[in-house]
């Protein structure tokens, strides 16, 4: 019975995915702007700084990264940062909570969290493109054999899916607090700062001072952005299974926490809109 219910729920989520996908696809101007600006500018900055650094210091390797590996790391990490971006989740939750439409969405047979998860995955589908293109370019340049390339592609889709779901629950955790804080600005700033700093977008975790290594490697943001990239480029020593297990554990814990917290805060807040 429960597996039947699960199947029905999953089937019911498809329209949410489709609608979100169409919404992003229709606004192609924004999509192109996003592809170019959110990926190319951060990459140009890193490229300029690190090129100077490696040339000037005459180093072959820095903290275990050669120049080329580091540049590949940045290509993927910046593309993943755009793919796993929970900004919209917080913004949307805040808008529905304060326009008074939260109750009408929450009383549907599908839970609000699942509605938003399906919407998030559908809306992110097109943002997989830069990651996949980067992967093919990487495989071509590194002259990887066909079998390894196919296995790598399968790994890529697995890590993208896991990181997407984890990103959703982390962002949803932040989003729930708009029921208390009323405005989303602080939460949005905090979320994007955590993604950039703890997600490894600025630098790989082992580039930070040693006392920060533990925080940088065990926080959920690392498993949303940097860890999937390390799995793809082969610098994640523990392997993909380890990555999936930890990510899954985070997802389960956050699913429970968000569910309890949401119930508690929705009961406490008086949502009349405004």
């Amino acid at each position: 019975m429960s597996s039947m219910k699960c199947k029905i729920n999953l089937f019911n989520l498809v329209p949410y995915c489709k609608n979100a996908y169409k919404e992003v696809y229709i606004d192609r101007g924004m999509l192109v702007t996003d592809f170019f600006l959110a990926t190319i500018i951060p990459y140009i900055i890193q490229f300029m700084l690190w090129s100077w650094f490696f040339n000037s210091a005459e180093l072959n390797e820095f903290n275990g990264y050669q120049y080329k590996t580091l540049m590949v790391y940045y290509v993927f990490v910046i593309a993943f940062n755009r793919l796993n971006n929970g900004y919209g989740i917080v913004e949307y939750y805040s808008s529905i909570a304060h326009s008074g439409s939260l109750s009408s969405l929450a009383c549907k047979p599908i839970s609000l969290a699942n509605q938003r998860l399906a919407d998030f995955i559908g809306g992110s589908a097109l943002y997989c493109l830069p990651v996949v293109i980067a992967y093919f370019v990487h495989v071509y340049i590194a002259q990887v054999d066909l079998l390894s390339a196919v296995i790598g592609l399968a790994k890529l889709f697995i890590v993208m899916l896991f990181s997407q779901i984890l990103c959703f629950y982390v962002s949803y955790f932040f989003a729930i607090f708009t029921l208390v804080l009323y405005r989303p600005h602080f939460l949005l700033n905090l979320l994007s700062a955590f993604q950039i700093i703890f997600g490894g977008v600025l630098i790989p975790y082992n580039f930070w001072p040693e006392y920060l290594h533990m925080i940088m490697k065990l926080n959920p943001f690392y498993f949303i952005i940097a860890a999937p990239v390390e799995v793809i480029i082969g610098t994640y020593n523990e392997g993909i299974l380890h990555y999936c297990m930890i990510t899954l554990a985070y997802i389960v814990v956050l699913r429970v926490i968000t569910s309890v917290l949401e119930n508690h805060l929705v009961k406490r807040s008086s949502i009349l809109g405004g």
């Binding site: 180093l59 804080l181 405005r183 600005h185 700062a193 700093i197 600025l202």
Partner: protein
């Protein structure tokens, strides 16, 4: 103008946690970014020929300039959001000059307060460390002048592109484009090759709005600073003309 500022301050003051949180995040980013640049200086003593102290100065200037610019770009975006929704007529018929409505009606007071707090603490720090000793009034005024020209360049970039809403009636993602391009202000100008630098100076002077102050401190009022001022002036005047011209074509229907 003061009434607009007062209203924005009241609106922001009601949400203290949001403001305190915003300050916390800004300081957090500040701290981690400093550590990020510290990684480079483990192995090299300069970036693009600029010593460590200039790179930190560039970064601090970039943060402070962003805070001040964004205080106003927030208001500009709000203005054009009303244009997009067809709600701007009420402000067009008021006796207040349009530039005041554009810049001050929705000013982001959190950013503005943080700008004053960080700016003042930074100047006090520089004074205590003795970095301001022996600096002439003209030299200091020039640096401050270049800083405010940089703010104007940022604002004029946003105004000139947002003004397209008058004819397209669409909500333009200029605030997003601006914040992405603004990241380039943290890159030392000396890392750009001469052709790229010339092109960017002509098309996007805002990219060098912070670097040019460092350039002035290191090399004085040289050719790059003069060229920047020239293009900055063109952009500021151009944006005012674009705003005025496109506002006249506005049909007030929204989109």
């Amino acid at each position: 103008m003061l009434s607009y500022l007062k209203m924005s301050l009241k609106s922001n003051a009601t949400l203290k946690v949001d403001f305190a949180g915003f300050m916390f995040v800004t300081l957090l980013i500040f701290g981690f970014r400093y550590t990020y640049f510290g990684v480079f200086f483990q192995e090299v003593d300069n970036l693009g020929g600029w010593e460590e102290k200039y790179i930190y100065l560039l970064f601090t200037l970039s943060i402070i300039m962003t805070l001040l610019s964004n205080s106003f770009t927030y208001s500009i975006h709000k203005y054009f959001d009303d244009v997009h929704k067809g709600k701007i007529e009420a402000y067009l018929v008021k006796p207040t000059p349009q530039y005041q409505v554009l810049l001050f009606r929705g000013v982001n007071v959190s950013n503005l307060l943080l700008f004053f707090m960080l700016g003042i603490s930074w100047i006090i720090y520089l004074y205590m460390q003795g970095h301001l000793n022996g600096i002439s009034a003209w030299y200091f005024t020039s640096c401050v002048g270049l800083f405010f020209i940089g703010v104007l360049v940022n604002i004029s970039f946003v105004v000139s592109f947002e003004s397209l809403t008058f004819i397209t009636a669409r909500n333009m993602p200029i605030d997003y484009i601006h914040s992405e391009l603004n990241r380039l202000t943290q890159v030392p100008a000396s890392l750009f090759d001469i052709k790229t630098m010339g092109t960017l100076l002509a098309l996007l002077p805002m990219v060098f709005s912070c670097s040019v102050i460092i350039q002035f401190i290191r090399d004085g009022f040289g050719f790059p600073v003069q060229l920047y001022l020239c293009f900055a002036l063109i952009q500021i005047v151009g944006s005012a003309l674009i705003f005025r011209k496109l506002q006249q074509s506005f049909d007030s229907h929204g989109g």
